[in-house]
C-alpha cells in the first residue's frame, strides 16, 4: 500500500475542516473511494448550506490532480509512496 498525501484547497478545505490528510491505497480508484468516505458528505453539506446542490462523488464536482496532473489523464496509475492528490473546486469565471 502506498502512503499518499491528500491536500484540499479553498472552499473544500473550509468545508472539510482540514487542509491535509494521509491515507494508504494501492490504486487511484481506491484512494478516491477513501477520500469520498472522508470528505464527500462534508463538502456536499457545506455547499448545501449555501443552497447549492452538488451531484456525484468528489471527483465529479472537483478538480482533482495527482502530482499536478488531472486524474482523468492518469486514470489507471498505481500509487507510490509520497504521491500527492490535490482536490479543489473548479474555478472558471472571469
Amino acid at each position: 500500500m502506498a502512503k499518499v498525501t491528500v491536500r484540499l484547497y479553498s472552499l473544500w478545505q473550509m468545508y472539510a475542516g482540514t487542509e491535509t490528510a494521509r491515507l494508504e491505497a494501492d490504486s487511484l480508484a481506491e484512494a478516491l473511494n477513501e477520500i469520498e468516505d472522508m470528505f464527500g458528505a462534508k463538502l456536499r453539506e457545506g455547499m448545501k448550506a449555501k443552497g447549492i446542490v452538488l451531484d456525484g462523488k468528489i471527483e465529479e464536482f472537483s478538480l482533482v490532480l495527482l502530482n499536478g496532473t488531472n486524474i482523468k489523464q492518469v486514470p489507471d496509475t498505481a500509487l507510490k509512496d509520497g504521491d500527492t492528490i490535490h482536490i479543489m473546486p473548479p474555478l472558471a469565471g472571469g
Binding site: 491536500r7 473550509m14 478538480l63 499536478g68 479543489m88 473548479p90 472558471a92 469565471g93 472571469g94
Partner: protein
C-alpha cells in the same frame, strides 16, 4: 526635472509627435533612450527602469475577454504603458456586470465590452495603440486573432476557450497568463509554450465548461486581485524583471488570506 530625472510632459510629447510625424509611443521611446522620462511613467521607473518602460512601450499584449478580469487588466496595461493592446470579446455589458466589471457603467449597458474598453484605453493613454475584435474567439480563429501579440492574458469565463487560447499560444510560441475566479477564490499560472500548462490540469477530452462560479457568483474584489496579478506576470515577461509563475498553479483563498502553490505536470 523631477529630482535628478529629466521629464517630458504629455503635451510636449504630443507636440513632438505632430512636428516629427511620429507616433506618440515612438516619441516616448526616443525620450527614454535619451534618459528623459515621460512624466506619466515617472512612478514606473523605480521598479522597471527606463529600459523596462521602453520594452513595455514596444510590446503588444492581447487580452481575451473584457469583463471582470479583462476590464481591470486592460485598465492596468494602459496605465503601465504597454504600447499595443489587442482586446477580444464578443459580449455586451449587462446589469449583472455592474458589481465587479470595472469598465461597466449604468450608461454603457448593452454596448460591446471590447469597444468600451478601447475607448477607456484612449482616455487613459492616447499613445497606446488598440486593436479591437468583437468576434468570439474559437479554436478556429484563435491563432489569427492572437498573431502578433507577445503575451496573451486570460480574461475568459470558460475552460474550453482557455484551452483554445493555450493551444494557439503554443502554436504561436508566446506566453499565456492564465487567471480564473469563483466566489472568494482565484487562481493564476503563466504558461510558456513548452510548459505543461492547463493541458495538464484539465482533461483535454472533457473539460468542465464552467466552474463553481456559476453558482457562487463573482464579487467585486476577486477579479480585481487576480487581474492585477495577471498584469504583473505580463510586466515580468516583457521586462525580464522577476520570475513568472511557471509550472505552478497559485490558488488564492481570499477569505483566509492564504496562497497555495501546486507544482504542475511533475
Amino acid at each position: 526635472m523631477d529630482g535628478e530625472i529629466s521629464v517630458i510632459s504629455i503635451e510636449a510629447v504630443r507636440e513632438l509627435s505632430r512636428a516629427r510625424h511620429q507616433p506618440l509611443t515612438e516619441v516616448e521611446v526616443m525620450a527614454l533612450e535619451q534618459g528623459i522620462v515621460p512624466q506619466r511613467y515617472l512612478r514606473n521607473i523605480g521598479t522597471i527602469g527606463t529600459e523596462g518602460q521602453i520594452r513595455l512601450l514596444r510590446s503588444h499584449v492581447a487580452v481575451v475577454g473584457a469583463g471582470g478580469l479583462g476590464g481591470t487588466i486592460i485598465e492596468l496595461l494602459a496605465r503601465q504603458g504597454v504600447g499595443h493592446i489587442t482586446i477580444i470579446d464578443d459580449d455586451h455589458f449587462a446589469e449583472q456586470n455592474l458589481n465587479r466589471q470595472l469598465l461597466c457603467t449604468e450608461g454603457n449597458i448593452g454596448r460591446y465590452k471590447a469597444r468600451v474598453a478601447a475607448a477607456r484605453v484612449r482616455r487613459i493613454n492616447s499613445a497606446v495603440r488598440v486593436t479591437v475584435h468583437t468576434e468570439r474567439l474559437t479554436v478556429d480563429n484563435a491563432s489569427r486573432l492572437l498573431r502578433g501579440a507577445g503575451v496573451v492574458l486570460d480574461g475568459l469565463d470558460n475552460l474550453l476557450s482557455r484551452l483554445a487560447v493555450e493551444k494557439a499560444c503554443r502554436e504561436l510560441k508566446i506566453p499565456f497568463v492564465h487567471g480564473s475566479i469563483a466566489g472568494f477564490c482565484g487562481q493564476l499560472m503563466t504558461v510558456y509554450p513548452e510548459d505543461p500548462g492547463l493541458q495538464a490540469i484539465y482533461s483535454a477530452t472533457s473539460p468542465p465548461e464552467t466552474g463553481i462560479e456559476t453558482r457562487l457568483g463573482n464579487p467585486a474584489t476577486t477579479p480585481a486581485i487576480i487581474a492585477a496579478l495577471e498584469v504583473q506576470e505580463a510586466i515580468k515577461i516583457i521586462t525580464g524583471i522577476g520570475e513568472p509563475v511557471r509550472n505552478r498553479l497559485l490558488i488564492f483563498d481570499l477569505l483566509t488570506g492564504e496562497v497555495h502553490s501546486i507544482n504542475i505536470g511533475r
